[in-house]
């Protein structure tokens, strides 16, 4: 699919599970890089939010993960792939307010059960697949053309 859409920017970032001290670092790098690419501000803000919530999910629930980003003239594609516990019930996980976060995670201001909802809300396309004991794979698209 979309083989003819040549990326104008691509990058791949590893995220370490459990390391809350560095949480947000990858999203900051992605935001800075997208600024250099010269994308519209609203597109950058959406991509930064989607990358941030994906990063926090990996830090909170996975052993490790990867966030990949690829930008074409039409869209920003973001994928978050982790090796983690997986999500038993995706419909439940997508409900705002539902969370399996530990009290330690909540004390830091995370784990409010809003992350996946935010990702969906700020993406033009959102896909989630998960396998118990293996991990979770998120695919997001943010439109540049026809975006608002």
């Amino acid at each position: 699919m979309h083989v003819h859409e040549k990326p104008i920017y691509e990058s791949s970032h590893t995220v370490e599970g459990g390391n809350f001290d560095e949480a947000g670092k990858v999203a900051s790098q992605i935001k800075a890089n997208l600024k250099k690419v010269g994308l519209r501000k609203d597109v950058i803000m959406k991509a930064a939010l989607v990358a941030y919530e994906s990063e926090i999910n990996i830090v909170s629930y996975a052993k490790k993960g990867m966030i990949q980003i690829s930008v074409t003239a039409e869209k920003v594609n973001i994928e978050a792939i982790d090796e983690g516990q997986g999500i038993p019930d995706i419909n439940l996980a997508m409900q705002e307010g539902y969370s399996t976060a530990t009290s330690k995670i909540r004390e830091m201001g995370f784990g409010a059960g809003m992350g996946l909802c935010n990702i969906k809300k700020f993406s033009d396309l959102f896909q989630i697949t998960s396998e118990i004991g293996k991990g979770t794979h998120l695919k997001m698209v943010i439109n540049i053309v026809n975006g608002s």
Binding site: G24, K25, M45, L49, Y52, A112, F122
Partner: protein
């Protein structure tokens, strides 16, 4: 109204980003849930929170906030302050409650009339 005036009127203690206090403040957001702040705050906002963990700096930086006010005299964690200095984000502390801080800032920037900015 610029951030320096808000600092003066509310008697805020400024920990970092001293050279960024000339930024004009048009709005703000209050909350301790980082996802809520990520989704609903706006660029240039002043963020009022009781959350002191270092991750608040990443959020403020990603959202281009004008600064963060910690309430109830909450001391920023050392890691939080280090990051605020590194990112050059104004990190401020008020001795007052979040309710009082937000109420005053709201009156200052949205109140309009002269009676709102007497500082008495």
């Amino acid at each position: 109204m610029d951030l320096a005036s808000i600092v003066k009127i509310l008697n805020l203690k400024v920990y970092s980003g001293m050279d960024k206090l000339n930024r004009s403040i048009l709005g703000g957001y209050t909350g301790d849930l980082l996802s809520d702040v990520m989704a609903n705050s706006q660029e240039g906002d002043i963020w009022v929170t009781r959350q002191v963990h270092q991750n608040i700096i990443a959020v403020a930086s990603l959202k281009d906030h004008a600064g963060i006010i910690l309430v109830h005299g909450a001391e920023p964690a050392k890691d939080t302050l280090d990051k605020a200095i590194k990112e050059n984000i104004p990190l401020m502390v008020s001795e007052q409650s979040g309710f009082e801080v937000v109420g005053q800032i709201y009156t200052l920037i949205k109140g309009g009339g002269n009676n709102a900015v007497t500082g008495h």
